[in-house]
Symmetry: D2
Subunit: 184 residues, 4 copies
């Protein structure tokens, strides 16, 4: 199957975005994909903000983006857009780092008023990086993501169903990537 | 092969957008696709602006969108966005009229300063209508589209090459649509 | 005081957008402004869609935009953006028809998920037309606008309070327009 | 006169954005404003990326935003939008940190194709933070900013004239802020 990079763009260690992405990784793994998790906050801050493309952590992240077939990009919505931390990582990648890639954009936030941030803010950035196919994304309300005492995650039924659907569309689009590569 | 609706959203009969789309139709036809041209300005004005979903011209346009596999959407850029005429047609279609469809967004304009109108203005609207795959689009400068005395169209070499590339990516994505439909 | 053009961009005669704008006109009038209502749907359809800048109805609308100090722009949200009908009118105005003007953007819609359409879709268009000051806008939910048997309009308390606030900020910004004009 | 915070959102010490903003500060100072320069890259990286609102550097930046009347926000355009570093700072400010403020958005970049990033990407974020008045901004091409051997900066004539104009409109809007504050 395909290789997927699952990028969480939250600056917070305890964030719902991070937990949600790791939760979704399981479904992709169960579908036979190899999933590589990447929490942007684990990249050294001075590497992200130093505008140094040769920093080992940036070289490593760039190589990860280059070798995978698909990328899940998850971000909390702050100030009606994606997080600055996530954008700081994208800024350090080559202009066309997403060429040929299939991308699933996801967001979390406190209010449905921010739903359009995926399509009006995040998607244009991903498109400018040459993404081949940005599938339909999903915005999950914070209140629909519950963390149990054991650290386990529960997603409210309607949100869980929607997430399953966009994940499956992403997985299906990934399945067609090799055909594209052969024809391209 | 696939069936493609090629929609020109210019209000002007002599527009470069219209001529460019009809020119590109030839390439899609040569690739074996059935192409149905639709110039929005040929739809009766009172149907487009009357908010009457039952007007025969709107019923017919809706049926066209429903039956095709792919859609080319071309628009001139006015006031940093797509044309009002094009949006008036989209407003009359069902909310999810693009579900399962492959879409190629194209724009023409007088200045490169408006290039981002495709990704920041047109693409979010197409995404809200449920498009399955909106491939990379292209913005062509008016000055790169020349109309000969015989009405024939010549596109400047660099622009022609870019248009060929996005058309071929669209055509390739269309070729994978039946696989999706079968699996979906 | 100031002269204000109050533009409703709904294609529907019975729309909540139209009623809401006419309702808000009263408050502006009570504050001493001269308010000129303009429902885009009353402009002949063939004038709006015909790309004919010399049509008498377009010449008249252009003159109205030119002579006022401030403009209220109200639109229903369709397909995650402003209405095509409204954009068709804006397309026919001069590129810098809003130079020196104070503008209040308003929207109505069925879901809070479309709140960002004002700032991500409508505001960039108004900005491209040279608006001097686009004040904070407001998105009103359809369900918060009730029409009585006598045609009277009732706005839910929280929405009414927010609308009063943006109207007053608009009115205040208008009050400073002559100072700008003198200094400009 | 007014107090202005002049924020440069470039991660690079040698960036044209930084130099341009410091150059423009002179004009604002000459007009009688008190100008406080802030280069985002001088804020400790771990403060910007650590999601720690109580970090002394963040507390200090928040206090700066709170005490000024006006804010110049300058950013390089990367991947068709503002820099991640700038957004990381904005993410750490209160949701309505720009309430009552007058804001001048500026951008620099290598191609005119990115001009719309100001209005489609940066302006919606500033608007979501409650800005009272975001004046018309300006996008300056990198090639129009020349750095002399002595570190002095020269801006190409047409760009310099446009920058002077938006600065003066900003300065004028600032002059009206106290009136607003008194009336508000």
């Amino acid at each position: 199957m395909a290789t997927v990079l699952s990028v969480s763009g939250s600056p917070s260690a305890s964030s719902r975005t991070n937990r949600l992405l790791r939760h979704l990784d399981n479904r992709l793994t169960a579908q036979g994909h190899e999933v590589i998790p990447l929490d942007v906050r684990t990249i050294p801050a001075e590497a992200l903000l130093g505008a140094d493309f040769r920093h080992p952590a940036i070289v490593e992240a760039t190589a990860l983006f280059a070798r995978v077939d698909g990328i899940v990009i998850g971000t909390p919505v702050y100030k009606a857009a994606y997080s600055g931390v996530l954008k700081a990582l994208l800024d350090l990648l080559p202009q066309y780092a997403l060429t040929g890639k299939t991308v699933l954009p996801l967001a979390t936030g406190g209010t449905t008023a921010h739903v359009l941030a995926i399509d009006y803010a995040l998607r244009p950035v991903l498109s400018s990086m040459g993404a081949r196919h940005i599938v339909q994304g999903w915005f999950t309300l914070d209140k629909d993501i519950a963390v149990g005492e054991d650290g386990g995650l529960t997603v409210a039924p309607a949100a869980a169903e929607a997430l399953t659907q966009v994940l499956d569309q992403f997985s299906e689009a990934l399945g067609r990537t090799p055909i594209l590569a052969a024809a391209g």
